[in-house]
Symmetry: none
Subunit: 216 residues, 4 copies
Amino acid sequence: MHRVRPLPNYLVQRYHGWKATGYADNKAWYRRLASDGQHPRAMVISCCDSRVHVTSIFGADSGEFFIHRNIANLVPPYEPDGDHHGTSAAVEYAVRVLKVSNVIVLGHSNCGGIKGCIDMCKGHAPELEAKESFVGRWMDILRPRYDLVADMEDPEEQMRALEKEAVITSLENLMTFPWIDQVVGEGTLTLHGLWTDIGEGSLEHYNPETKSFHPV
Amino acid sequence: MHRVRPLPNYLVQRYHGWKATGYADNKAWYRRLASDGQHPRAMVISCCDSRVHVTSIFGADSGEFFIHRNIANLVPPYEPDGDHHGTSAAVEYAVRVLKVSNVIVLGHSNCGGIKGCIDMCKGHAPELEAKESFVGRWMDILRPRYDLVADMEDPEEQMRALEKEAVITSLENLMTFPWIDQVVGEGTLTLHGLWTDIGEGSLEHYNPETKSFHPV
Amino acid sequence: MHRVRPLPNYLVQRYHGWKATGYADNKAWYRRLASDGQHPRAMVISCCDSRVHVTSIFGADSGEFFIHRNIANLVPPYEPDGDHHGTSAAVEYAVRVLKVSNVIVLGHSNCGGIKGCIDMCKGHAPELEAKESFVGRWMDILRPRYDLVADMEDPEEQMRALEKEAVITSLENLMTFPWIDQVVGEGTLTLHGLWTDIGEGSLEHYNPETKSFHPV
Amino acid sequence: MHRVRPLPNYLVQRYHGWKATGYADNKAWYRRLASDGQHPRAMVISCCDSRVHVTSIFGADSGEFFIHRNIANLVPPYEPDGDHHGTSAAVEYAVRVLKVSNVIVLGHSNCGGIKGCIDMCKGHAPELEAKESFVGRWMDILRPRYDLVADMEDPEEQMRALEKEAVITSLENLMTFPWIDQVVGEGTLTLHGLWTDIGEGSLEHYNPETKSFHPV
């Protein structure tokens, strides 16, 4: 087992600071969240990237968003094969148990996972091709879309295009889940695709009819 | 495809508010994050639960934590079988690419995933037993630990015990990844298990020697 | 040369205590800081005063702040005359090499340097007038501002007013550096002036439009 | 003047956290520090580097150390020419007003200022040669010592050697101040030279008789 190490001191200090302010000032709200359970309005699927916190962009408070974060904000297609599917489990819980009104897929610029996918598709990342590469096998979800951007010569343009394809892929894969297709059809769930530029702070929204992203 | 719906107005408004304040006031920082890439110090594995945002508890700003969130903050064991493993991919990216110094598993009280696991293990949730239940199959990761809490009569006590077992399970499963075992052995990565009580705002840290949680 | 003296024992003991705890618990982080270099987000210019540690007030851990400390947190105006300018060198390194996003000038109550400046301006401290007085010549940077507070009758009010003028002087002098003026104009650097009351633990932020300090 | 920007939110939050804990828990001590003034036992001269906080290494609390931080922890020689000398002013205040018992010069590994000095001395950094380079002119203090390490072939060894020469230079320059020479002679002040390795957490103490550094 790993060695016994105390929690880093800066985290201990910050926790106690939050406890004495953020928590103490809102104790009634936290107590009610604990006793009444959560009733989030939306699920957000975003990247693990440390630079993209949806709680900042949307000023989210405790209790508002049910947030799943994985590499490159990907949703795999519906595969009820009895295996562990962490993303599908999170989506199932949000849609079927919590009955959120929106599922929002949030992509972003400068995504390391997308960069790895491009390198892999170009044959520049043999280590990601290995069966043992979890990142490589995870990015396989997006791999079929690489053809759409393969001819782009500007690397930055290509990155952005594939980052946006990742959002579209996730939206399309979400629709392969029968219980999502159903509630979307009934109008009790809407799906949204977003893409944010870290450096510019811009936000674009996907329009599935025009198949393009537009500034919010 | 899903119908075209504009982004809910409350999100549009909040985004523009953030753009004009949180982003505008820190534009230099966001630009640098975009150009220099991320250098997070720690990875946090926490639950999707809308009531538990590690960015609040630890006052984390953009760039500090690489965050993976799934149902019940679970890490499956090392299984390089060529399938999609979102959690393992996130851990791989954090440890092998970003070379974070800490991996922190953050469990919490009132966890819906843990509640479902107990119901399923007690035979009270046949829908979770179905092969098609992604939540059920995801909670299978924790299922073997149910024996440890099966005899507890107080439901709340049992919940908390299994919530903490989920943290321990994740820590132990993390150690089954050969490249985690290696860097933990070399002293360049430390693992930490935490559990927070939503209503009380308390935080407990796992001591693997005494196999118990202690207030931070 | 000075005589050989061992390091005072209380420092030896504390160092070994830190080595076995603060360092050992965060060895991975320190190793990474050494190998990857520093990427601080902000530069702080504060006083040498033993009662004001910005690392306490802002819970700063290793790697976060590039800190210059001098008497009365003063920045002299831009003077590229080929002489040694320690403060200007520190600012140059932070802004041009490290490309920090913020420069924060932190003033404080009960400042001995400011007290000396007032005494000197009132003619009560001839020793500070001497050419050989490094403290006196250093406080000359602030001297022109004394006129603004000369008429105040309450000594404490006068002290605080000049302490705040020292912060404003530093901010204005920072803007005389052409490469600061440029990046502030481009929006990649923001300057902040703060003043803290040691006894009260309060913190005030300077608003250059209203030319006044407001509680944080 | 620079634009009006609020203090970054993460600093606001951390400040309020400290106010509610670190300050609130020690209010009596802070009030006494404000009313009685500071009586630090030692002055520390260390680098601005964000990775080296003497308050961590020596577990320093408010009131203990009078800390001057500049690029490469350098002290220029005694030059009472009527100009602004920030470092000399800090030393004068510590020794003559506060009458500290120790002045400690703390050097460190991986020092960017020392790296720049070596590059400059090798002719690889013409921008540091410019009269307008404050960093270059500041490092001129150390320049005469480069000869001592010029022949070293291993760059890391050379860096460490010059980092230690910087500490020795500062100690020797301190002794050129007549009022330091006097109190050192009288035994009421001792000078110490230290060098710490960021990655290893080691600490070495300078012995002026053997002219070498030894582990603490």
